[in-house]
């Protein structure tokens, strides 16, 4: 792989989100909250789901530390989730996992993922898929708690 590929992995958008992430800072209470850890590198995230009117996700909030991929992924996810229904968010988490586990064969669609398609390049780097997935796994867990509580 060449430097061009490395820039495909670390797109400008990803580096920007890693440097100035969206959605950081936890609130005192949440409808669902999950803590996830990547044991190989010690990266961790705590993510909250806050529900709004009806079945809509009002916002995701998170705190954590890790590599550029994991930080950008959490940031992009928090932007994506806002305003989606819980079912729509679940659908996207499932689709994102499928894309990440595809070893570069499946690209996430712009229609479903917006800016988060920038993470599509990660799926070719098997060792980094866990980094990208960390926030999404936390969101899945927090969402399950939030919907169970309704």
């Amino acid at each position: 792989m060449s430097a061009a590929d490395l820039q495909g992995l670390y797109q400008e958008l990803i580096l920007d989100h890693a440097k100035t992430p969206s959605g950081t800072g936890l609130m005192e209470s949440a409808d669902g909250q999950s803590h996830q850890l990547n044991p190989t590198c010690g990266d961790e995230i705590t993510l909250q789901v806050h529900l709004g009117e009806g079945d809509a996700v009002a916002h995701l909030r998170w705190e954590g530390h890790g590599c550029a991929i994991s930080q950008a992924s959490a940031s992009l996810l928090s932007e994506l989730a806002e305003g989606l229904s819980t079912a729509e968010l679940t659908e996207r988490i499932d689709a994102f996992r499928t894309a990440m586990q595809s070893r570069g064969k499946i690209q996430p669609s712009e229609e479903l993922f917006g800016d988060a398609v920038a993470l599509g390049g990660v799926s070719r780097y098997v060792a980094r898929v866990k980094c990208a997935m960390l926030a999404w796994v936390a969101a899945e867990d927090a969402l399950a708690q939030a919907t169970a509580g309704r």
Binding site: G42, A68, I69
Partner: protein, 433 residues
């Protein structure tokens, strides 16, 4: 002893290039670049002589050792036991003082479980010195790999003994002053690493052994990062037990070894039990073989042991003093080069004294995974993460670091490529202009 002879002749560049030809993997390319393999601290590459020894065994001699009377079984047994003598000789031990294990982690667990079994009365009177209970203390250090920490945590939990540790100072060195007070008359066992797998510094074995002897404690040495890189003689170091692994010293994965002083092994109850480690078995009980067989239940790692002997032969032909001298030069270049790059903090970089060719570092504002990815793109293989030493990383205030580690086949050119790569990390990730 582990001190490097200053008279050892440094290998020339041409010699190192010659050695590299013995390692098939080093000719491969990674991401369009010749691989610069700087992860030997995790696992070493294998020379053709080792690969041939393992294959040759399967092609010409493969049979069950220590059972059966046919010619192949007898010859395989001889080779298997010759391999033990070779590996034992490499660390200054007698052949009945080396027990084969699956890896160094199992070797450390073997000692911990022997203590544990003795503590519930197994091994009888002879094993009394291994019995632990409330009031007894086991001492480790803050530098340890998880393999030399968790078995002792579990042993303490099972027996009611207390686990204590020798802290490190702010620069990462073992706090020897504190060691004097942590190791007391209550201490029954002191377990510590010879060379830290994160810092690359050689610990003062002699001083710690002396303190352990003062209080009558047994000493367990984690020698995983020393035996592959330095001349090491366990009886000369006066340790009671030592663990080391094959795959870090040119041998295959799947085999490690425990060194134990003869009279201690003879008094220890077994850890794993089953076939091949008994003399007489009834439906109620069993009697056990003397060491080392007492600790080798089940089918053994025959091809790996034979290949490990080939690895030892390869290392001895070059000379461990020359390998140590070569890696000391590389280690100094790694350290000096990293310290010149802005935004780099070398973990333990200020510790004085002997080092192997290994350095771990933190790049301000860039996670180790990203550093490793950037280097990988240039064909440079390093380790990223906590290197199975979370407490030590926590002490430095980081969760992960990037580690470069050398071996006999590492060239100065590879170290230069690595340093140039690290120098480019800050700009790529936008943390410096």
């Amino acid at each position: 002893m582990s001190t490097t002879s200053t008279r050892a002749t440094l290998p020339t560049d041409a010699e190192v290039v010659q050695w590299r030809r013995d390692f098939p993997l080093l000719a491969t390319e990674v991401n369009g670049h010749p691989v610069a393999y700087l992860d030997s601290g995790a696992t070493s590459q294998k020379p053709a002589a080792v690969l041939d020894a393992e294959r040759g065994y399967y092609e010409q001699l493969n049979a069950a050792v220590h059972r059966g009377a046919h010619t192949l079984a007898a010859e395989a047994t001889v080779l298997f036991e010759d391999a033990r003598a070779a590996v034992a000789g490499f660390v200054g031990a007698a052949e009945d003082e080396v027990v084969w294990t699956s890896n160094a982690t199992e070797a450390l667990n073997l000692v911990a479980y022997a203590f544990s079994n003795a503590s519930v009365g197994r091994g009888g009177q002879a094993a009394e010195r291994f019995r632990l209970g409330p009031g007894d203390e086991v001492v480790v250090t803050e530098q340890e790999h998880h393999a030399n920490l968790i078995p002792w945590q579990e042993l303490a939990a099972r027996t009611g003994a207390t686990l204590r540790y020798i802290p490190v100072t702010d620069d990462g060195a073992l706090d020897l002053e504190a060691a004097g007070t942590v190791i007391t008359d209550r201490t029954r066992l002191v377990a510590f690493t010879h060379v830290s797998n994160v810092l690359g510094v050689v610990n003062p074995v002699q001083q710690l052994v002396a303190r352990a002897r003062e209080v009558g404690a047994l000493v367990v040495l984690d020698a995983c990062q020393s035996v592959p890189h330095l001349p090491v003689d366990f009886p000369a170091l006066d340790v009671d037990f030592a663990a080391f692994s094959g795959h870090k010293m040119l041998a295959p994965t799947g085999i490690g070894a425990l060194y134990g002083r003869r009279e201690l092994l003879a008094a220890m109850p077994p850890f794993l039990t089953g076939g091949s480690m008994i003399t007489t078995v009834t439906m109620e009980a069993a009697e056990y073989l003397p060491p080392p067989q007492r600790f080798e239940a089940g089918t053994q790692k025959v091809s790996q042991a034979i290949a490990w002997a080939a690895a030892v032969d390869y290392l001895q032909q070059i000379g461990m003093d020359r390998i140590a001298a070569h890696e000391a030069v590389l280690g100094r270049r790694l350290l000096a080069g990293l310290r010149e790059i802005p935004g780099i903090r070398v973990l333990g970089g200020d510790i004085e004294g002997e080092r192997v060719g290994l350095a771990s570092f933190d790049v301000t504002g860039v996670h180790a995974h990203d550093v490793g990815q950037f280097l990988d793109d240039r064909g440079i293989a390093v380790r990223v993460g906590h290197h199975c030493a979370q407490p030590l990383h926590r002490r430095f205030g980081v969760t992960a670091s990037t580690r470069a580690s050398t071996y006999l086949y590492t060239t100065e050119d590879e170290v230069t490529r690595f340093l140039e790569g690290v120098a480019g990390v800050g700009e790529f990730f936008g943390v410096r202009a």
